[in-house]
Amino acid sequence: MWSSRSHGQRIAALTVIGTAIVLPLVVFVLGPHMPPGKGTPVASSQVTDNTVLLVVMTPFTMFILAYLAYALVVFRAPKGEEIVDGAPMRGHFKSQVAWLATTTAAVLFLAIFGTTELLADNGAGGGGGPNPVAKPSGAVFPVQVIAQQWEFTYRYPTYGGVETATLVLPAGRQIAFHVTSLDAIHSFWAYQLGVKADANPGVDNVAYVRTKNPSTFQIRCAELCGLWHGYMSDTGRVVSAADFATWIAARRRQFAPSMKYLPKYAPSYAPDPTFRAG
């Protein structure tokens, strides 16, 4: 029978070897492919964030898996053995303290890291309420996202409040999404941009993101909103500044006759409580 010390050394060795193999795979193979891709700076830093979380978890996972595997091989009762008790060990103060210290350090690191990332990225693409704590410096390009059963429409307050059915954004601009709803709770999820913000009736929920090069991105509703929730998706586009100017001018001409029927642009609109669906 091996001594406690040699069991411990073997499990430690297995943990180190496992970590040494898996960690580079996590950082160099899995890391670059972590969601949601590198479409925007916010999305990129979410990729970094996801990778860091995986890196912190890897040694813990490897330890527990190594321990379980080792225990199942070495601490097994021989087949057909009469029931024999193991040694009556009821705890080990040092290893308990070591475990507590390690997990506490990891947890505090994760909380501090998460908070810095959250503040550094102006809310990391998540909806931060009507008046977010972290705001980008410099000019922002506001776009209002109006969720309703069961589609998103978009208003551009700096272009006369024109309302469109497709989302087009200029490249290289700091965008401020103002997300609101006309009925139930929805959630505006622009996957490749790294943006998700709940659309609540009567609330102006702001999320910031800086666009990069011209590209397309998927939009889905991420909060159950009734009958056609599963169909509430859309494709948005990021286009060059010149293309955007052409596009928005065309939309303003197209919708000029209907502008007088639209309510004046506002952070939120009165939902209709008697409207019943699904």
Binding site: L68, L72, G114, V195, K196, S233, G278
Partner: protein, 618 residues
């Protein structure tokens, strides 16, 4: 069984009175239909009638079972009937019975049946998701299936372990002959049965599209199926409160002499901490649903934006209940696993005090984390760092449970019986569940994972991989003790391996699918995810099939080919295994005395509980 036994206070009468009560209430409810209540005329739906009908139906059901007998007989000055204290016969299982062991078995069968229905819903959901576009169910039916699956599982599994196993074994483990409030104990079970039936009636009222969360503006505008959801969850909440209170009072006041707090088996600690959560969290649920019901019937406006209410209020209240609720689903599983590991590692529980600290820590912290469900909702944006920290802090006490489980295996003599396999699988599944939870607790990561299949897969890893695996471990460990008949070990091992592999093959890929951008509760999804979803659906069907293996095992060994179980097949030193199988009606002839250690493996023989079991009744 004699035919005249069918007449009297039993399940049959209860069903008849329940249906009669329902229609009486329905009729009464239509009497109060008023011009001033605006929705009725233009939509033809009468929520008031349905709520009244559910209420009178439940009252009729309970009266039929005999819950009114005792108070009525007392009020009339007559001696109460002793029918509910019957000690033998199959009829006890079909009515009000105050024997905690009968209630435990009632719970096992009753809850098992509803969980099976919930599982079938999951199969139908996965069938639809074989194709990225519409396949079998229309949008409304699909959402109803999603809602029924989620609500049924969340409602029933809250009592999934406390109902059958704590009711049966906690009195034994603390050396008591009964629970503190035996009639309330029976009531918690029958309330759940009424609740489950009510939830199924949602199908008759057009289903409900709100999922198990029932977020307010949607649940206020939706059809009458939502009333069934409200009535179900309110009854479940009531049942949880009563169950938790009963457990707490029992453990606090009825422990045998010498059984101090530090001598309680760890499963009892799991039960206590769960009960505290139930008693404190469930009232929030019931009052929230009451507000929602008022909004739907009396035209109040708690959650109606235009009239000054707030959907945030509903979200907050729901998750103040909802997050302790998910630990109601986790803690009993931890208790079971830490109870099973010492028996089959032949070791005392390693770090008993650390494990208790872990459970109490989880219990306390679980009240401080609810807004991590609302990280992108726009509420309290500046409090997100706090909720991120408090959520991640929960991994410390959870880590205690892990380190105690691992420490117990150290230098043990591990025997891989079926219960042990389930307990070990719990460690693996809950590890994946816990680690995936870290992504959801971190705000930047949560922006992608929130509301996606990732979060769905995460909580299936903790609840199904955690609680349900512990549930099955407990079944294989304790059912021979409860019924007196062995379960088949070979079928048990087949069940375990198919379930374990199919479970991971179902929910592992779902973590990835969520990361790749698939939201929850959608009936259509992006075409590039079809291959992965087909894999998941087929794995889910295999997972469903593994449950059939279990059912065959259960029915075959408990009904058809019965092998009497030994008193102590596992060589356990826990007190219930010192009693005959099944446990006699009065548990012990004399109240047992307890040694200083609930797990005296490798210790001195004299430290195991001294038990004088009751003579078996013929």
């Amino acid at each position: 069984m004699k035919l005249r036994r069918l007449i009297g206070f039993n399940l049959l009468t209860a069903v008849v009175l329940g249906v009669v009560g329902f229609y009486v209430g329905w009729w009464l409810g239509h009497l109060v239909k008023a011009e001033s209540i605006e929705y009725f005329d233009d939509t033809g739906q009468n929520d008031i009638a349905l709520f009244v009908a559910y209420f009178t139906g439940v009252v009729g059901f309970l009266v039929g079972l005999g819950f009114a007998n005792y108070p009525v007989q007392r009020l009339l000055g007559k001696p109460p009937s002793l029918r509910e204290k019957e000690t033998a016969g199959i009829g006890r299982y079909f009515g009000l019975c105050t024997d905690h062991k009968v209630v435990g078995i009632q719970y096992l069968i009753g809850i098992g049946a509803f969980i099976f229905i919930g599982g079938l819903n999951a199969m139908l959901i996965r069938f639809e998701l074989l194709r990225p576009t519409h396949l079998a169910w229309n949008g409304n039916n699909y959402l109803t299936l999603v809602g029924l699956h989620g609500t049924m599982m969340m409602g029933m599994m809250t009592s999934g372990i406390l109902g059958p196993f704590a009711n049966y074994f906690v009195p034994l483990m603390i050396g008591a002959r009964r629970m503190a409030f035996p009639r309330i104990e029976a009531l918690t079970f029958w309330l759940l049965m009424a609740a489950g039936t009510i939830l199924m009636t949602a199908l008759a009222f057009g289903g409900f599209p709100t999922g198990w969360t029932g977020y307010a503006p949607l649940s206020e505008q939706s059809n009458m199926g939502v009333d069934a959801y409200i009535a179900f969850f309110a009854l479940v909440g009531l049942s949880m409160m009563l169950l938790g209170l009963n457990m707490l009072v029992t453990v606090i006041t009825m422990r045998a002499p010498g059984l101090s707090w530090s001598r309680l088996p760890i499963f009892v600690w799991g039960t206590i901490t769960t009960s505290v959560l139930m008693v404190l969290a469930a009232p929030v649920l019931v009052s929230t649903l009451f507000m929602l019901a008022l909004d739907r019937t009396a035209q109040t406006s708690f959650f109606n934006v235009q009239a000054g209410g707030s959907p945030y209020l509903y979200e907050n209240l729901f998750w103040i209940f909802g997050h302790p609720e998910v630990y109601v689903l986790a803690l009993p599983g931890m208790g079971i696993v830490l109870e099973i590991l010492p028996v089959f590692a032949r070791k005392p529980l390693w770090g008993y005090r650390l494990a208790v600290t872990g459970m109490v820590g989880i219990m306390l912290l679980s009240f401080l984390v609810w807004q991590h469900h609302l990280f992108v909702s726009g509420i309290n944006g500046d409090l997100r760092p706090f909720y991120m920290l408090s959520t991640e802090l929960i991994s410390l006490p959870t880590g205690f449970i892990f380190v105690c489980a691992l420490g117990t295996l150290w230098a043990g003599r591990i025997r891989l019986t079926v219960p042990m396999l389930f307990a070990l699988a719990w460690i693996f599944n809950f590890l994946v569940g816990g680690l995936s939870g870290v992504f959801l607790s971190d705000v930047p990561s949560d922006v992608t994972t929130h509301g996606s299949f990732f979060s769905m897969a995460h909580f299936h890893y903790t609840i199904m991989g955690g609680l349900l695996f512990a549930f099955f471990g407990a079944i294989y460990y304790w059912v021979p003790k409860m019924t007196g008949f062995e379960l088949n070990e070979r079928l048990g091992k087949i069940h375990f391996w198919v379930m374990f592999i199919a479970f991971n093959s179902t929910f592992g890929p779902l973590l990835v699918i969520g990361f790749l951008g698939m939201p929850r509760r959608v009936v259509t999804y992006a075409g590039y995810l079809q291959g992965a979803n087909e894999w998941v659906s087929i794995s889910a069907f295999v997972l469903g099939a593994s449950m059939l293996v279990f059912l065959v095992n259960l029915v075959w060994t408990q009904v058809f080919v019965r092998t009497p179980a030994a008193a102590n097949p596992w060589g356990s030193k826990s007190i219930e295994f010192q009693l005959p199988s099944p446990v006699p009606v009065h548990n012990f002839d004399r109240i047992p005395t307890f040694g200083p250690d609930p797990y005296p493996y490798g210790g001195i023989e004299g430290t195991r509980p001294v038990v004088v079991p009751a003579r078996p009744t013929a």
